[in-house]
């Protein structure tokens, strides 16, 4: 009851401040009137009575104040008053306010948006049941390091150890695939997994079930589990999808369940897996890949197991060592092959909680992750120090106001509170602007058509962190100048600002902030240049062939239900029609394009009778006309012609790089190699062509040219998918014409891609471009912020010295001298800042190079950045920063020099 009264009274005090004030006034007035009446009754005149009553009463305002205090709302009132004054003040200084809100908004918003993307790819971890009992198991390479690949047969051996493992599962790396649904063919990410997959992880399907062991047998009808994100986004969360049949890579597949919402895939790097298929579906979906081969790198399996309750990690390791020895004894042949992906006899067991992606990938992964964090952090640091500078400058400019307030009797406490509230208001507004920008930035990012889908949501932890940081900055740097300002010498400041001695000290907070901002800008640009470098390298690696005037059309006949011989006939018909389009100079059928080829494992015939080593090379199945169409020059031998038929000996054209690297000579005509999967696939080299840029199948972006070979599609198991054609004119109309021809052949054939090669090239660069754009934008943002800070500081310094400048000009100083005298001080600071920044950048690069030492393991979309030292680039960065900085300082300097001496002298 009492609590209720208290609560009501307090709420009323807070929310009805105005009515409370009138109440108080009326109450006291009544008291005075009654007192007056009483005194009148004792015989005094009205005037005397009123006077007497007032005298008895004492100070009305004091009583009011005391009454307010008694309510305990005085603090609140002062807060409201300060906030109102602060808002009025900020609105009046709208230039300063806009700048500050913009700085904060950009820093918080851009950072949050960009970090949310990066976070979605790099940092998110899913919660699994009892994760401490999960282990990752890898086969080792010959050097004893865990491999990316573990073979299916090795998995089966591992799964036999039921006394050690309660459950064992294998899941493949994410693979690109296409599916047909509702009449449209779309890209998807598929994984191949065992029936034990979900149980081992300790998860339950969101709907339906996981596939079982009978469905895992070779030859069983194909089934799939749909990923939760794919279900909600692409199938509108329709529960009736379970039980329906959709076509994946042309094959009918029955959906049996929906994966749990929390589980996005075996390798959680932002690629949401759309479909899980049984491991045995690999050859059915990707025709030419037999499972069970230990050297298969197309479906590299990651094996995880759940330890039995009583089993320790050490015991599991011991058990796997026994297995490794047994395997080495039983299959000595399999461990004899040489090469990058050769399997050694060892097996590694690691607790799953200790691994992010893969034991060998985690090092470089952490380098990238920390680089991203550093860059994002640097932008925030620049923004905060910028805000600090602005507040500092403003605080100094307000010294006079502060002294007036102090002289009027304001306590220091009141003043500090007042200034503090003002800067907190400012950072709050900046935080709100940041939220809006973050939300808007995310919408913009979601609009970008990434070739892979990333689960994009604003990360509220990051947003909260950025806002809290900006508030702390606001508080700290609002307070520092406030404290400094309230220490002012009243007399000097009040007398005349112009007579104040100029501060000649070098080590002031302001100077330190300028140096800091310049240094961090250089570091930031240096950091982002690593990503720009990678993007430039990715572009360079793809433009070695002529794309202008070339159009491409991709289809997949399996979706239209053709048998293989029929399909080949249809393609021949399509090629004939396209070649007949007016203006077409050459056309070719192929499977795979230079910008998105896959690596395959091959074995080289070394010629001395020894078993060759297993190596990786990019492969394209092509046809006569391919090299003409893309203008790839032939160096030795010949390209494909009529002699190369399905029943003639297998032949290949290889790239200069492959010839040099794998055969030791550019002229490798007559040498042989074979697919690592098929011992009977010996292929003879008939020609060597100039290197072409390829997709970065091994992600080594700074080593753009991969070994590559071309086979004839007639001799390939897989069907062609693509027609390319070169025209003498513009490629864009050719795209439409090619689509018309496709429809003329069979109206039901799906169009997967129909683009000019130039467009295809651009879209294949989307990821490095997007990354470069994001980080380039961050670097630019940092530089802009830093120059705003410089500008503010110099403009302020000029304003303070305007009287001095006026005197100088009146005495005959030329404007250049004035500008120079202003610029000199700033240039020194910029020089120091740039120097520190360069040193830090070099240190950062050294750390990154050290961190990515064992980087080259070729995992999916994880690119490894090994910055190379480029002194020219570093100097350019330093120069840009210095020039921008000096320019920012120059603008107010020139304005000062142009000032009319009379105006400058009068200037207060």
């Amino acid at each position: 009851m009492r609590t209720w009264h208290i609560l009501r009274s307090r709420l009323r005090s807070i929310f009805f401040r105005r009515s409370r004030e009138t109440d108080l006034r009326e109450e006291l007035q009544l008291h005075l009137d009654r007192e007056t009446e009483r005194l009148q009754a004792t015989g005094l005149s009205q005037g005397e009575a009123r006077l007497q009553a007032r005298r008895l009463f004492g100070g009305v305002e004091q009583i009011k104040e005391a009454s307010r205090d008694a309510r305990g709302t005085a603090g609140w009132d002062a807060l409201v008053r300060d906030a109102r004054q602060g808002i009025r003040r900020l609105v009046r200084d709208w230039r300063f306010t806009t700048a500050a809100i913009l700085i904060l908004g950009l820093a918080i918003g851009a950072n949050t948006a960009i970090f949310s993307v990066v976070n979605a790819v790099l940092f998110r971890n899913e919660a699994l049941a009892d994760p401490d009992r999960l282990v990752n198991i890898y086969q080792n390479d010959r050097a004893g390091r865990p491999l990316v690949v573990t073979s299916y047969s090795a998995y089966k051996e591992i799964a036999e150890y039921t006394d050690v493992f309660a459950a064992t599962m294998a899941g493949s790396m994410p693979n690109p695939a296409r599916y047909l649904y509702d009449g449209a063919v779309r890209d998807a990410v598929v994984e191949f997994a065992t029936a034990t997959y979900l149980d081992t992880l300790g998860l339950r399907p969101a709907l339906g079930r996981w596939f079982d062991e009978t469905e895992e047998r070779p030859g069983a009808p194909l089934v799939a589990v749909l990923g939760y994100q794919a279900w909600t986004r692409r199938f509108r969360a329709d529960p009736s999808i379970v039980g329906r049949i959709i076509r994946i890579e042309g094959r009918p597949v029955t959906i049996v369940g929906i994966a749990p919402a929390s589980h996005r895939g075996t390798v959680d790097i932002g690629l949401g897996t759309d479909f899980w298929l049984p491991i045995t579906a690999v050859p059915a979906v990707f025709v030419n890949l037999p499972p069970g081969d230990p050297t298969t790198i197309h479906a590299p399996f990651l094996v995880k197991a759940r330890l039995r309750q009583s089993v320790t990690l050490a015991q599991a390791k011991a058990a796997m060592d026994v297995l490794a020895q047994r395997l080495a004894a039983e299959y000595p042949d399999q461990f004899r092959a040489e090469g990058e992906f050769a399997v050694g006899p060892g097996i590694t067991v690691v607790a799953s909680t200790d691994v992010r992606i893969h034991p060998q990938a985690d090092g470089p992964f952490m380098v990238i992750a920390s680089l991203v964090l550093v860059i994002v952090g640097l932008v925030l640091a620049i923004a905060c120090s910028n805000l600090a500078t602005l507040l500092l400058v403003r605080g100094t400019a307000r010294a006079k106001e502060v002294s007036v307030r102090l002289a009027m009797g304001a306590t220091r406490r009141q003043l500090v509170r007042h200034l503090l509230i003002e800067s907190l208001l400012l950072s709050l507004a900046g935080g709100i602007a940041g939220c809006i920008l973050a939300w808007w930035g995310m919408r913009a990012l979601q609009g970008i058509d990434f070739p892979f889908r990333v689960d994009l949501t604003v990360d509220y932890r990051v947003l909260a962190f950025a806002i809290v940081l900006s508030q702390v900055t606001g508080a700290v740097f609002g307070l520092a100048p406030a404290l400094k300002a309230t220490r002012v010498d009243l007399l000097t400041t009040l007398r005349d600002e112009g007579l104040q001695p100029i501060d000649h000290r070098r080590l002031t907070l302001k100077n330190a902030l300028i140096v800091f901002q310049v240094a961090v800008s250089v570091l930031l640009l240096g950091g982002t240049s690593v990503f720009l470098q990678a993007a430039a390298a990715a572009r360079a690696q793809r433009v070695d062939y002529a794309v202008n005037g070339v159009a491409m059309l991709e289809t997949d006949l399996r979706f239209a239900g053709y048998s293989e011989p029929d399909a080949r006939r249809v393609f021949d018909e399509l090629l004939r029609r396209i070649a007949a389009i007016p203006g077409v100079q050459s056309a070719a059928l192929l499977r795979g394009l230079p910008m998105d080829v896959n690596g395959v494992a091959i074995v080289i015939d070394s010629g001395d009778g020894q078993k060759g080593s297993t190596l990786e090379a990019a492969a394209i199945a092509s046809a006569p006309g391919f090299f003409d169409t893309l203008r790839i020059p032939l160096l030795h031998g010949r390209v494909f012609d009529e002699r190369d038929r399905a029943d003639s000996p297998r032949v290949a054209v290889i790239s200069e790089r492959m010839a040099r690297q794998y055969f030791g000579a550019v002229n490798a005509i007559g040498r042989r190699f074979r697919s690592a999967n098929d011992p009977n696939s010996w292929t003879e080299v008939i020609g060597v062509v100039r290197n072409t840029g390829t997709g970065d199948f091994d992600d080594d972006v700074l080593d753009p040219i991969s070994p590559m070979f071309y086979t004839s599609y007639l001799q390939s198991v897989a069907l062609p998918t693509t027609v390319i054609a070169r025209t003498s004119g513009d490629a864009a109309p050719l795209v439409a014409a090619m689509q018309r021809e496709l429809r003329a052949v069979d109206i039901t054939l799906p169009v997967m891609t129909a683009q000019t090669m130039a467009q295809k090239l651009e879209s294949s660069l989307a990821v490095p471009n997007a990354i470069a754009t994001l980080f380039g934008a961050l670097g630019g943002l940092g530089l802009v912020l830093a120059s705003i800070g410089l500008y503010a500081v110099v403009a302020f310094a000029v304003a303070r010295r305007s009287r001095e400048i006026g005197v100088r000009m009146a005495l005959g100083a030329r404007s250049q001298q004035v500008v120079w005298s202003i610029a000199r001080g700033v240039a020194g600071l910029i020089g120091v800042g740039t120097g520190i920044g360069l040193v830090l950048t070099v240190l950062l690069m050294l750390v990154m190079r050290a961190g990515s030492g064992s980087a080259d393991i070729g995992i999916g979309s994880l690119s490894v950045y090994r910055p190379s030292f480029d002194p020219v680039a570093l100097l350019a960065i330093a120069a840009v920063t210095a020039v921008v900085g000096v320019a920012a300082a120059f603008v107010p300097g020139r304005r000062a020099a142009r000032m009319d001496p009379l105006v400058a002298l009068r200037h207060e």
């Binding site: 009851m1 009492r2 609590t3 009264h5 208290i6 009274s9 307090r10 005090s13 109440d23 108080l24 009326e26 109450e27 006291l28 009544l30 008291h31 009137d33 009654r34 007192e35 009446e37 009483r38 008895l56 009463f57 004492g58 100070g59 004091q62 009583i63 005391a66 009454s67 307010r68 205090d69 008694a70 309510r71 305990g72």
Partner: protein, 109 residues
């Protein structure tokens, strides 16, 4: 006037609570009543009366309602809350112990 005593700090709350225990009153009337009942011995400083009233309201011992005064003007009438009634008893008991103690000290020294 010299024989009037300003109300002691701390006893004002007790006096106010006790006075309005009989009937709700407005501020001036409370001051007058205290003065009358104490045969003009005690004088309530307005400077402390209103802050005290607001404090008591804030603490939840009394509530305030607007009503018509004896000469029909709007006035803020203070009344005890239930908790206030208990508080009066506690304050009275405390005061009695205090004054008894003070009296004893004065008599025995």
């Amino acid at each position: 006037m010299s024989d009037q005593t300003d109300v002691l700090q701390g006893t004002l709350d007790l006096l106010i609570l006790r006075t309005i225990a009989l009937a709700p009153m407005h501020g001036w009337a409370i001051a007058q009543r205290i003065q009358q009942i104490s045969d003009d011995l005690l004088r309530v400083q307005q400077g402390s009366l209103y802050p005290a009233l607001h404090r008591l309201e804030h603490q939840g011992w009394i509530t305030a309602e607007w009503g018509a005064s004896e000469n029909n003007r709007r006035a803020r009438f203070y009344a005890l809350t239930k908790a206030g009634r208990k508080q009066v008893e506690a304050e009275v008991a405390k005061w009695e112990r205090l004054s008894a103690g003070v009296n004893l000290v004065l008599q025995r020294t």
